[in-house]
């Protein structure tokens, strides 16, 4: 599906990806010979999310909140211990092998570290060609042609195909990773911190490249990031994760203008303002993120929450629509 640049980037109303109460608990095992499970790390604990075709959704939160695990569940790199992930209406873990093959072509990913993402002993051309070789079954000359086209699409010189990844700069490597991901004309791209390891100036280039590719190919993005500036620029919608759960979900501009959850407010106040004069009063959270192996009772955020109420330590809030399209999981908005 190679649409021209004229096609609109506006998200459609058709769902492409749906997470339903998805959980990933990793067992904590003790003992050498006879292993027994003494507990679970609840990396992801009941995440529901729907992604529309053509939209960019941002998954934000601090390190260890389960964003990356959620990405791995969507990429079928891990199997969920609870709940289901649907792609185009099909349950990822009940797919036939033909459906898996189709899914492998339609869903690709770009990761944070572009050096680690490229097989160090493969030539760039082969790296970009691999998803096509595995999924498209095209003759060799056509694959070579498409490798060149993909390299041009991301702003690389196709004559660099016989070179090795270590011969490129960080930004160029990330472009190679993007070229590989888009070579099979996927529908969904999982971007796990795609620019965090790049220099600021290169970040802007890669972000603009991602934006242009989305418009040209009518792609859906799931952007996992902790840089709110990047997220604001790229996404249509934002979901905030804390300790394995989504605490707030809203359209991007709405979220930045009127965040609801106390955690989201703290997150926004911690981010550097674009114009220094805009600086709001900073909300500094006390304490550490509790261990996901032993999450707090009630609301998981209550031990650190500046507006905690007595019931917060007893009753877990649920994610509810509080304003149009704006979901929040907090007792402050119960009334």
């Amino acid at each position: 599906m190679l649409n021209g640049a004229s096609s609109a980037a506006a998200p459609s109303e058709v769902g492409i990806l749906k997470l339903q109460e998805v959980a990933k608990w990793y067992p904590i095992q003790k003992g050498i010979a006879l292993k027994r499970t003494v507990g679970h790390v609840r990396a992801v604990d009941g995440v529901s999310l729907e992604v529309m075709h053509g939209e960019t959704i941002g998954l934000v939160g601090e390190s260890g909140c389960g964003k990356t695990t959620t990405g791995k569940l969507i990429l079928r790199l891990e199997a969920p211990t609870g709940g289901q992930v649907f792609f185009e209406g099909l349950d990822l873990n009940r797919m036939s092998s033909a459906e898996v093959r189709d899914y492998r072509r339609k869903v690709q990913a770009v990761f944070q570290d572009p050096m680690a993402s490229l097989s160090p002993r493969m030539k760039v051309g082969s790296i970009i060609a691999e998803p096509m070789i595995m999924n498209l079954g095209l003759p060799r000359n056509e694959i070579l042609e498409r490798v060149g086209a993909a390299m041009e699409a991301v702003g690389l010189d196709p004559s660099a195909a016989p070179m090795y990844p270590h011969e490129f700069s960080g930004g160029q490597r990330q472009r190679i990773a993007i070229a590989r991901a888009i070579s099979v004309n996927p529908k969904l791209l999982v971007l796990d911190e795609p620019v965090s390891s790049l220099d600021i100036s290169i970040q802007a280039q890669v972000i603009n490249l991602l934006k242009r590719i989305q418009e040209e190919h009518h792609l859906t993005y799931l952007l996992i990031a902790h840089n709110l500036g990047t997220v604001r620029y790229l996404t249509h919608r934002i979901a905030v994760m804390y300790l394995g759960q989504i605490v707030e979900e809203a359209p991007t501009e709405e979220f930045f203008n009127s965040p609801m959850h106390p955690y989201s407010k703290a997150l926004l106040s911690a981010a550097m303002p674009i114009r220094p004069k805009d600086s709001r009063e900073a909300i500094v959270l006390s304490g550490e993120v509790p261990s996901p192996a032993n999450p707090p009772q009630g609301c998981r955020f209550h031990p650190r929450c500046p507006s905690a109420m007595p019931q917060c330590s007893r009753v877990a809030p649920t994610l509810r629509e509080n304003a149009p399209d704006h979901m929040v999981s907090c007792h402050l908005y119960d009334g």
Binding site: R104, Q108, M134, A160, M163, F168
Partner: protein, 300 residues
């Protein structure tokens, strides 16, 4: 964020063919390579070089000194051993035996160990655990004793020595490879290969093995001398190459008793082994660098 994407040029002009050849020669280990070529030539053309049959005791001229020592003659360039056999001729024939055993047994062990290590590292599970427990047992066991028992059971011969030493030397490779696979398995490029739909087999061969080969080569070049020495020990204990046939190890073993009076019977095979070991180690280092495109780039 009004920054344009910016054009990207070629990262670096490619080095010309002549420059590459020059860089290759500069880093090539001339001496070790030359020494190994000499060993190989001697092994191949041994019968034409040796002036005597290596098992010929001749006129029982025992412990004749080398020609450059007082009392020596040009009849026996490197002297004779305790049975009057020509040391030079035995050395030349021994090169063939030592090299063939060292290379084939090591190749066998490397192949076996790498395969098992890849399986244990990539798939893990109970199969992986089983493989690694066997490795632990192998490393805890005195290998030479096991080799001795096996060799005696099968019956000492050239083929037996290769088989036994090959089978017994796989554990080091398995452990090395498994460790590297465990770290590589979770690297992003392996995850992306999974995402691209590669089969486990393709991931292992295309993405993991090329990153492990250099370590295997280095380990193998370090193992060859060990295998040659193990063969020597087996031969000394009567479970290796059957006696009249020359092998460097058995030459040292037999000359050991006379080292104070007839030092040449042990010194020359010793030097032969040392030269081979040193050259192989240097060559191994060089091969490792050659195999690593990152190091290659840094040197150019």
């Amino acid at each position: 964020m009004a920054v344009s994407e910016g054009a990207i040029g070629l990262p670096r002009p490619q080095a010309s063919r002549a420059q590459k050849a020059l860089a290759f020669l500069r880093r090539a280990p001339h001496l070790p390579l030359l020494i190994l070529v000499v060993y190989a030539l001697v092994a191949v053309f041994g019968p034409w070089l040796a002036s005597y049959d290596p098992t010929d005791i001749g006129d029982m001229n025992r412990h004749a000194p080398p020609m450059f020592v007082a009392g020596g003659s040009s009849a026996h360039v490197l002297g004779t051993d305790h049975l009057g056999r020509d040391v030079f001729s035995r050395l030349v024939y021994g090169a063939r035996i030592s090299l063939i055993i060292g290379v084939t047994a090591t190749t066998m062990g490397a192949f076996l160990g790498t395969t098992l290590g890849l399986i244990a590292g990539y798939f893990g599970g109970w199969v992986g655990n089983l493989i690694m427990r066997v490795v632990d047992a192998m490393l805890a066991f005195p290998v030479l004793l096991l080799a001795l028992v096996l060799a005696v059971t099968i019956g000492p011969s050239f083929a037996t020595v290769i088989l036994v030493l090959g089978i017994l030397s796989w554990s080091g490779y398995a452990r090395l490879v498994r460790g590297q696979v465990l770290t590589l398995r979770n690297k992003e490029f392996v995850l992306l290969a999974q995402i691209a739909g590669c089969s486990p087999w393709r991931i292992i061969v295309q993405h993991i093995l090329p990153n492990v080969v250099s370590s295997i080569i280095v380990l193998a070049t370090l193992q060859i001398p060990g295998v040659i020495l193990a063969e020597a020990s087996l031969s000394f204990l009567g479970a290796g190459i059957p006696p009249p046939n020359p092998s460097w190890g058995s030459m040292i073993a037999q000359g050991r008793t006379y080292v104070t009076t007839a030092w040449w019977t042990t010194l020359f095979p010793g030097v032969a082994i040392a030269g081979l070991v040193l050259s192989l180690n240097l060559l191994g280092d060089w091969l490792r660098d050659l195999w690593d495109p990152r190091i290659q780039g840094a040197h150019r």
